[in-house]
């Protein structure tokens, strides 16, 4: 599978990750296309989340993690230790499995990231941005009268959309989503899926999911991981309809999970 290199958002070269001497990710070479949804799928414990967290260098806040190889984003190897990690992470918004709103009001949850990256931004501009991003995730009409209530008063589904608004408010290029719907009820999950489909116009979405149906609904490109190795990667249509690898076929048939 060849995609023109100017449309590649993230590329990994010989990426190895060890955790406590355990070999977690083995020689990962993938190319994640820009402004599409890439689903990372595979059975539990195969390293999906580890791979996702290596993209914004969240792995290294844990101890005993050793990473080697290269992750190229915008032509720069982000694993270079001389780079400023907050700058890398600002480019890579993240949505975790369970929503963790910041311990602040609904408004401040979105405003905080904006303010921290532009401390001189006038108040009314911050407020406009907050409204814009809350509208973007379809929360504004639901919560515009209680912007200054604690974010924890929202339902879990609303919290997850708030976290999405918070993530895009710092204007990232990529959205890293780690099973973002697994803690949600079906309706809230559907809202998130719709949002991801809408957001892929402006952002590159990398989605870790363990539900094949979700990957089929959303993905444009698929990376199949098994025991820390990339078994197959390619456009979603090809992967789901014409998988080449026996393990991929077994996984799609539900024989390994």
């Amino acid at each position: 599978m060849t995609t023109p290199s100017n449309n590649i958002q993230i590329e990994t070269r010989n990426l190895d990750v060890y955790y406590n001497k355990q070999y977690i990710l083995k020689n990962i070479n993938i190319k994640i296309p820009s402004k599409q949804i890439t689903a990372i799928i595979g059975p539990s414990g195969c390293g999906k989340t580890t791979l996702l967290k290596s993209f914004n260098r969240l792995l290294e806040i844990q101890d005993n993690v050793r990473i080697s190889g290269e992750i190229i984003v915008d032509g720069v190897n982000i694993l270079n230790p001389n780079l400023n990690t907050p700058d890398i992470r600002k480019k890579m918004g993240m949505l975790s499995q369970k929503p963790y709103p910041l311990p602040m009001s609904i408004f401040d949850n979105v405003a905080y990231g904006i303010r921290i990256h532009d401390k001189k931004k006038p108040k009314n501009e911050v407020a406009e941005k907050v409204q814009h991003y809350l509208e973007e995730v379809g929360l504004w009409n639901e919560i515009k009268d209680r912007l200054h209530d604690p974010a924890t008063q929202l339902s879990v589904g609303q919290q997850q959309r708030l976290c999405l608004a918070r993530a895009i408010a710092v204007e990232p290029e990529v959205l890293l989503c780690d099973e973002p719907t697994s803690a949600l009820d079906p309706i809230a999950a559907q809202q998130i899926e719709k949002l991801l489909l809408k957001l892929k116009r402006n952002y590159t979405v990398v989605l870790v999911t363990h539900t094949l149906r979700q990957a089929k609904r959303l993905a444009d490109y698929v990376v199949f991981l098994y025991f820390g190795m990339v078994i197959e990667q390619g456009p979603a249509y090809e992967f789901f309809n014409n998988p080449k690898n026996p393990e991929s076929i077994a996984y799609l048939n539900g024989e390994i999970s």
């Binding site: 806040i61 700058d87 992470r89 890579m92 975790s96 963790y100 910041l102 311990p103 993530a167």
Partner: protein, 282 residues
Amino acid sequence: MNKRVIEEGVFEILMILSLVFVLGSLIIIISLVLYHGAPAITVEMLTQTSSSRLYTGRGGGILNAIVGSILLAIPATLLAFMVGLTVALFLQSDFTHPQLANSVRFILDILWGTPSIIYGVFCMVIMFILGSTTSLLWGIIALTLLEIPIITRYMDETISMVPHGLKESAYSLGLTKVETAFKIVRKQALPGIIAGVLLGLGRGIGDAASIVFLIGESNSIPSSFDSPTSALPTMIFNLYSQPDPYVRQKAYAAAFILLIIVLIISVASRILTKRLTKHIIK
């Protein structure tokens, strides 16, 4: 009867007994202090400073000790809080390798268990070496040292319980480690931080041994950090050492006032905690 049912019953009884024991001793202490001290609690007690030499006599009140205790404990707690919060935040694995952090924790635990008289003697030795004399300042220094391990370890434990996912969320917004620690983690851990400060304050305001060599005792309210001062715990000790029953009554009265001060601080901070923590995730 079923063995498990008996077990359940036995532990329920044990639980009730220990509760009665704890609450009972608390009630006995307070009523004993009140019973012996009530006759001596007068307006003069609270509004006048002592007028007899080193409290050996009957004259005057204990205002100098009340003010002295507050002037000792509040600045000491503030200092210990500033040091403690910083150390506690830096002990987290984001900043410090867990092995090093655990060694620091071990040392802090030893310091927590060190008798307070050791702090007193230590500060006295330093005071002599520096050629300084007894004063409010040396009392504050000793209490600060006494409170640091308590406040730090308590905060450390509560800060460790901040969900990892919250920190990851903060980092993924592009926050630095320091911003994450001092803005997000601190907010989330606030109830524990306040509880730690209270624990330190409670220990500091009630401790006599660490300051007995350092504050110099005085009948007047200290006018500067250099002046000697009195404090409630040392005053209780001094008053109660006297044979005169009235003077002993004053000791009980002083003890009662110390209890009230601690109670007021606890209740006030509980209200404060409720107000400040409506945003935290549960």
